[in-house]
C-alpha cells in the first residue's frame, strides 16, 4: 500500500508469543459453550468435547483457519455500496454504533429510540460518504414488542438502508427469524448466501464462555452462509486481566474460538475478527472505552489478526466516555480515530456514539463523518518520490513567483483533505456569516439532509416479503 503509516504495538517476537498464547488457551484450557447441537458438530469436526468444554488442538485450529475466505464481499441492499474485503485501496471501512438505546436528538433531548428515529438514523447514514455500513440501534420496548425488538428494528432498517446492515440479535429464538427476514428482502436463503446484505455479531462472555444465544448465532449463520463479525467485549480489570495486554489476549482468543467454530460448521463463511475492548475504571468501576492502554490493546488485536493470521479485523474507531458533545468527547474520539487509522484494522466502528456506546446522536454522526474523512486521508499516507517532492521544479529554480501558478500545483492542488464542515475562513468572514461553530454547521447539514422525507429504498414486493416475514416472526416470538 502506498506510503502507508502503520503503528505496530508488537514486535515480531511479541506477535509470535501472542499467537502461541491464543492457541494455548484454546487447545489446553478450551472454551465453554452452552449449545448442544453446535458442540456435537464441533466434536464431529475433531474438537475434544467434555460436557460444555470444547478444546481445539493446534492442528484443528490450523485446519479451520485454512477455510477462512481470503476475499469476500459484504453486499449492500442498493448495490451502490458493496464492501470488498480486503479493501482494494488498503483503506478501512466505517460502521455506526451498535446497540445504543438512547437517542440524543438535535434539540438535545435524550430518550429511548423510536422506530421513526431508526428510519431517520438510517437515512442519515445513507448520506454519509465516509460511513460504509450501518448497525441496528435498540428500539424502545414501548414502540415494539420487547420479545421482538431486534426483528422490528431490522425490518425498519432493511426498508430504509442503502448500505450493508450488521445485526445484533437479542434472544436465541430470534436468530433464525432475523435470518429469515433478511432472506425475504433478497428473495430467499440461497439468494442471501450469494448476496449477504446483512452480517451478524456474536459475542463471547469473558472468559471464553458462550451463552446459548450467541452460540446460536454462530451455528445458524455458519449453516446459512451469512457473514459473522465475531466479537469479544472484555472489560479489563473486571472480567479480564487488568493489563491491556492480558485483555487483548482474552479478546483475541475468544474471537479466534468463534472463527474456528464457524469454519468447522460452515467452511468458507466470511468472518471479520471484531475485538471491542473496554476497561473498568478502578476508581468508579464504570466501564470505559477511551482508556489509553486499551486503545493500544485494540491495535494489538488488529495486528494479531491482520498480520498474524491474514484475517480481516475490526474494532472501535471512535467513541467517548463523555456523556455529551463536549471537549472531552472530541479529544477522545479524534485521538482514537487517528490511532486506529494507523492500525491494521479493516473496519472501524462506533460512528455517532456517545456515553460509552449507550447513546447515538445524529449531530455526532455528521461530525464523525468529517473526522473519518481525515482518518481515511491519514490511512493513505504519503508517497515520497520525485513527483511528490516537486524535485524537477525545485531544481529548475523557476519559483520566484511562488508556486500558486506552477504546473506542479495544478497537478496536485486537489489532494489536501478539506473537511466540509471545518472552518477554513478568516475571522472577518466567519463573524459576518454568523460565527457558526462546528455544531451549528452539523445542524445545518442535518436539516439539509432531512429536508426530503424519510423514504423506503426497496421495491414494493421486497417490502411485502419483509412484512410477511415480520408477521411470521411476531407470531413465533411475541408471547
Amino acid at each position: 500500500m502506498r506510503g502507508r503509516i502503520k503503528f505496530d504495538v508488537m514486535n515480531a517476537q511479541e506477535l509470535e508469543l501472542m499467537k502461541n498464547r491464543v492457541e494455548d488457551l484454546l487447545s489446553i484450557r478450551g472454551i465453554e459453550v452452552d449449545h448442544p447441537e453446535l458442540v456435537a458438530e464441533l466434536e464431529a469436526g475433531g474438537a475434544e468435547v467434555n460436557g460444555h468444554n470444547v478444546k481445539f488442538s493446534k492442528a484443528l485450529i490450523k485446519k479451520a483457519l485454512a477455510s477462512v475466505p481470503a476475499e469476500f464481499t459484504l453486499k449492500s441492499p442498493s448495490g451502490e455500496r458493496d464492501l470488498k474485503f480486503p479493501n482494494p485501496t488498503g483503506d478501512f471501512y466505517v460502521r455506526t454504533n451498535t446497540g445504543a438505546m438512547n437517542y440524543l436528538d438535535v434539540k438535545n433531548d435524550s430518550h429511548y429510540i423510536t422506530l421513526d428515529e431508526v428510519a431517520e438514523w438510517t437515512q442519515l447514514i445513507n448520506s454519509m460518504e465516509n460511513i460504509d455500513y450501518c448497525t441496528l440501534p435498540s428500539t424502545s420496548g414501548e414502540e415494539v414488542p420487547v420479545d421482538a425488538i431486534d426483528v422490528y428494528t431490522l425490518a425498519q432498517v432493511l426498508k430504509h438502508s442503502k448500505k450493508h446492515i450488521w445485526i445484533q440479535p437479542y434472544e436465541t429464538d430470534n436468530v433464525q427469524q432475523l435470518i429469515n427476514i433478511a432472506a425475504a428482502a433478497v428473495g430467499g436463503h440461497d439468494a442471501l448466501r450469494k448476496n449477504p446484505i446483512v452480517s451478524f455479531i456474536s459475542c463471547g462472555v469473558p472468559v471464553l464462555t458462550w451463552k446459548r444465544m450467541d452460540a446460536e448465532v454462530l451455528y445458524r449463520c455458519a449453516k446459512a452462509g451469512v457473514p459473522v463479525q465475531p466479537c469479544s467485549l472484555p472489560t479489563a480489570g473486571a472480567n479480564t486481566p487488568v493489563t491491556a495486554q492480558g485483555t487483548a489476549l482474552v479478546a483475541c482468543a475468544e474471537v479466534m474460538a468463534m472463527i474456528i467454530m464457524i469454519q468447522l460448521i460452515g467452511p468458507g463463511t466470511p468472518v471479520i475478527a471484531t475485538t471491542l475492548l473496554f476497561s473498568m475504571d478502578m476508581m468508579t468501576t464504570y466501564t470505559l472505552q477511551s482508556n489509553t492502554e486499551i486503545t493500544m490493546a485494540r491495535l494489538i488485536c488488529m495486528q494479531l489478526f491482520e498480520q498474524g493470521y491474514n484475517i480481516r479485523a475490526h474494532s472501535y474507531g471512535t467513541g467517548t466516555d463523555s456523556l455529551i458533545i463536549d471537549e472531552q468527547n472530541f479529544i477522545e474520539r479524534t485521538s482514537l480515530i487517528h490511532m486506529m487509522a494507523m492500525s491494521d484494522a479493516s473496519v472501524l466502528g462506533g460512528a455517532g456514539q456517545l456515553e460509552t456506546a449507550k447513546t447515538i446522536s445524529p449531530l455526532q454522526l455528521i461530525i464523525d463523518n468529517e473526522i473519518f474523512g481525515t482518518a481515511h486521508r491519514l490511512r493513505q499516507g504519503l508517497a515520497v518520490d520525485d513527483e511528490t517532492l516537486a524535485f524537477k521544479e525545485l531544481m529548475d529554480g523557476d519559483d520566484k513567483a511562488g508556486f500558486i501558478l506552477s504546473e506542479h500545483t495544478m497537478r496536485h492542488f486537489t489532494e489536501p483533505h478539506r473537511p466540509r464542515l471545518f472552518n477554513r475562513d478568516g475571522m472577518a468572514k466567519w463573524e459576518q456569516q454568523g460565527k457558526k461553530t462546528l455544531l451549528d454547521l452539523a445542524m445545518e447539514r442535518y436539516e439539509e439532509l432531512l429536508k426530503a422525507p424519510v423514504k423506503v429504498q426497496l421495491k414494493d414486493e421486497q417490502i411485502k416479503a419483509i412484512d410477511e416475514a415480520l408477521t411470521v416472526a411476531h407470531k413465533a416470538l411475541v408471547k
Binding site: G99, A100, M101, S138, G141, V146, D147, I149, Q168, Y170, E171, V205, T209, K211, M213, T235, A238, N239, M280, M282, M283, T284, T285, Y286, T287, K358
Partner: protein, 212 residues
C-alpha cells in the same frame, strides 16, 4: 499504638494475614469479640472509604480491606462457636435471566458483606420466580437485581414487575443497577437505582435504617 488500632491499620493496608493474626491474639487474650469488630475491623473500612471518597484510594483497595475484614471475622466466628455475629440485615442479589455477567454483582456482594449484611447470592441468569422464592424464604428486605446487557433490560423490567405484583409478609425494596441501567429506567419500573457498587451499599444501608 493499641492492638485495636493495629487491626484497623492492617485493614487499611489490606493485610489479611496480619488482621487474622492480630484478631486471633486479641481473642486469646480475652478481648470482647464485638469490640474487635466494632473498634478494630470496621473503622478500617471507614478509613479506606474516606480515602476513596477523597480520590486517594481505588476500588481494589476497598476490596482488599473487605477481604482483610473477612479474615478477621473468620477468627471471631471461630471463637464464638455456635453463637452468631449479628447481621445488619438480609439482602438477595442476582443477575437477571439471560445475562450471565457476574463481576458487578460480586463487587456489590463483597461490599455489602464487609458492611455487615447477610447476602443471599442467587448467581446469574436468575428467573423472576427464583427471586421471589428467595425473598420469601429468607425474609430479605432488599433485592438487588443486575443486568449488564442492553438486551436484558426488558427482562429486568419483567422481574421487577413480578416482584411488585407478588405478595410478601414483609416490606420489600427492589434495587437495580448495571451498565445499561439508568435512573430514568429505574424510576420507570419503580425500583431504586444505584449507579455503582459503593452507591448500592450506601442505598442498602439507608433502606435498612429507614425500614419500619
Amino acid at each position: 499504638m493499641s492492638q485495636l488500632e493495629e487491626i484497623t491499620q492492617a485493614v487499611v493496608a489490606g493485610d489479611e494475614e496480619k488482621v487474622s493474626e492480630l484478631c486471633q491474639t486479641m481473642l486469646q487474650q480475652g478481648f470482647d469479640p464485638v469490640g474487635i469488630i466494632g473498634q478494630g475491623l470496621l473503622p478500617g473500612m471507614d478509613r479506606v472509604e474516606s480515602d476513596y471518597r477523597s480520590g486517594i484510594k481505588y476500588i481494589p483497595e476497598i476490596l482488599m480491606a473487605a477481604r482483610a475484614i473477612a479474615k478477621g471475622m473468620d477468627q471471631v466466628e471461630r471463637h464464638l462457636g455456635d453463637a452468631q455475629i449479628p447481621k445488619l440485615g438480609k439482602v438477595v442479589i442476582g443477575t437477571v435471566k439471560g445475562d450471565i455477567h457476574d463481576i458487578g454483582k460480586q463487587l456489590v456482594k463483597v461490599l455489602l458483606e464487609s458492611a455487615g449484611f447477610e447476602v443471599i447470592d442467587l448467581g446469574t441468569n436468575v428467573a423472576k420466580e427464583e427471586f421471589i422464592e428467595a425473598m420469601r424464604r429468607t425474609q430479605a428486605s432488599v433485592v438487588l437485581i443486575s443486568a449488564m446487557l442492553t438486551t436484558m433490560m426488558a427482562n429486568m423490567k419483567d422481574v421487577v414487575e413480578a416482584i411488585h405484583q407478588a405478595s410478601f409478609d414483609h416490606p420489600v425494596t427492589v434495587m437495580v443497577g448495571g451498565n445499561p441501567v439508568t435512573s430514568e429506567f429505574a424510576q420507570e419500573i419503580h425500583a431504586v437505582f444505584s449507579d455503582s457498587a459503593i452507591e448500592a451499599r450506601e442505598n442498602v444501608k439507608k433502606i435498612m435504617r429507614e425500614a419500619p
